[in-house]
Amino acid sequence: MSVPTTLDPGGTLAANLMHFARILRTAGLPIGPGRVLDGLRAVAAVGIQNRADFYWTLHAVFVSRRDQRDIFDQAFRLYWRDPALMERMKSILLPPALGSGEAKQPAMSRRLAEALHRGERPSRPPMAEQEDTIDMAMTWSDRELLRTKDFEQMSAAELAAAKQAMARLKLTLMQAPTRRFKPDRSGTRADLRATLRATLRSWGDVIALKFRARRRRPPPLVVLCDISGSMERYSRMFLHFLHALANDRDRVHTFLFGTRLTNITRQLRYKDVDRALEKVAHAVEDWSGGTRIGKCLAEFNLRWARRVLGQNAVVLFISDGLDRDAAQGLAPEMERLHKSCRRLIWLNPLLRFAGFEPKSLGNQAILPHVDDFRPAHNLQSLAEIAVALSAEHPRPVRGKIGAMAA
């Protein structure tokens, strides 16, 4: 514990490290005081003769996910070159400072920029926030602002009704067997440990066999929701639905797609639905644009499938199947998605029309690869989804192959 003081009697390193950690924390890295102490200890162990070593020492302590590396890298370069510069940058408007100071560097991450900014003005009215966002977004060339969408447009009555309905919507998901066991009288496997205890109790006269059975637990759920123009009237409703879903249980991952794929799992974790949806609106850039289902699914399969489908997840695919790319490359991606999950359920709002037949190219490409196909256009149909999710029909063994042959 006394290490830091021996290393740095003046304490400026400790203070600097603390400020640095604070900036990282504001940028969203989970760094508590414990980690700052760890950082001091680690720096004391390695020494500060070498800038690269210093970098990797702090990296080992402060970074705990791959996606934090860029934030850390930028913050490190800015802060440890000149801590005072960081202070100045907090006080002046960000975009010009970026332009002059970091001409050669890649554009500063939005999270870091916002972290610097937030330190300056802890509380601000919502209006100002919106202005900021537009300002910043214009300065980053790598992000295109396709269209901003305001959730406030939702009428109060509509919102209240939806909220109430969603809160009541209870999803009892099907239970899948896990590889863990619990004591169970009618179980099929002997619980040797419990048996031995019981035997000892009766002093070895009777061997009282005890049994155990597999524990059951709902599988993870992955939601892929279409937010393109043709789905506009529904996506708002679905977002409430998805929020209820994400807060009801663990292991839910939510993605939105239009022309690109956005992971909104983290945003939906906010308990308060308004706050959550505000965050979502912030994160998503392609509201009510076109649809590129094939491209988005390809991205999902490539970047996310192995991370979120690993534990045999159930996939909810919400889309009207209308594709701007005329279903180009959609079928193979859909097939891959289907093969890597436990069950694929397609919710299609267009099914509300009695005579609707999935004849569009997109629909034709998707349909052979889903396990279940349901309407989703009003609260009633959403409630019925709950039933679909709770039913446990294990996919028939020939299911995957059969669906392909069909």
Binding site: V46, D53, S64, T178, L200, G204, R307
Partner: protein
Amino acid sequence: MTPPNGHLPTPASVDDALALLRAGNYVADRSLATAVYLALKLSRPLFLEGEAGVGKTEIARVLAGALGRRLVRLQCYEGLDTASAVYEWNYARQMIEIRLAEVSHDSRQTVEEEIFSERFLIRRPLLQALSPDPAGPPVLLIDELDRADEPFEAYLLEVLADYQITIPELGTIKAPAPPLTVITSNRTREIHDALKRRCFYYWVDYPDAMRELEILRVKVPGAAAALSRQVVGFVQLLRGEELFKLPGVAETIDWANAIVALDRVTLDPETIDNTLGALLKYQDDIAKIRGPEAARLLGQVKAELATAPAAR
């Protein structure tokens, strides 16, 4: 270089750590050596994340070998429980013991004490890693933690906090010195922050061309220098392609071995097509690269090697 007994010293600086890994035939970045040094110096677990085949598990093996410690490996899988990760009682022998005790009319107290003694305890990896070892604290490799489920992760948190395990019938067993723990993850799911917080984190990336060439020189000494350069150049280009699974270092080594086994001294399109299975593991990827694309990449590699001055 392993002495018959006694502890080998742990590295005293980042340079020492680098040399240690190098002595174990592991070509490491200085950044990795820093993380390893910190883990050794401050007795904290090392948390390694990265794509499959970048040499995460190898780090633990090399550390155990270079430090002369025992390697205790725990391969994780879904449903991993205390009975297979920590300890288990030998029930069959216990049952027999009870019957024997009955015959010899031992008192009940003695029998209970006898039955739950270390004699009937089966030690699984975690308990083994906490047991004293003459060669020094073992290297505990917890491999592919992302495959285990959350309950096991929570249990691990408890073990790694105090390096002790409580067996209800026997009492608490505490490690005399904490084992050097290496945890690896392929990120098929996110590991909880609470666990990562207790570790030094390192993302094991694909190596750059220089380092990969060095790795090949160490791991595939039979490959000619020119061939190695071509192999590395090709793999490096391949990592820039949109593939479902990019080839890792393990695949590079396999591929180089395969080509050497075929007695080739340089790459040609036909050899690449025939051995692509050693490098790419998805049919879609193979179909995409095989043929004209492979030939194009090879042409690019040859052009680059021709313009670049032969460094070595």
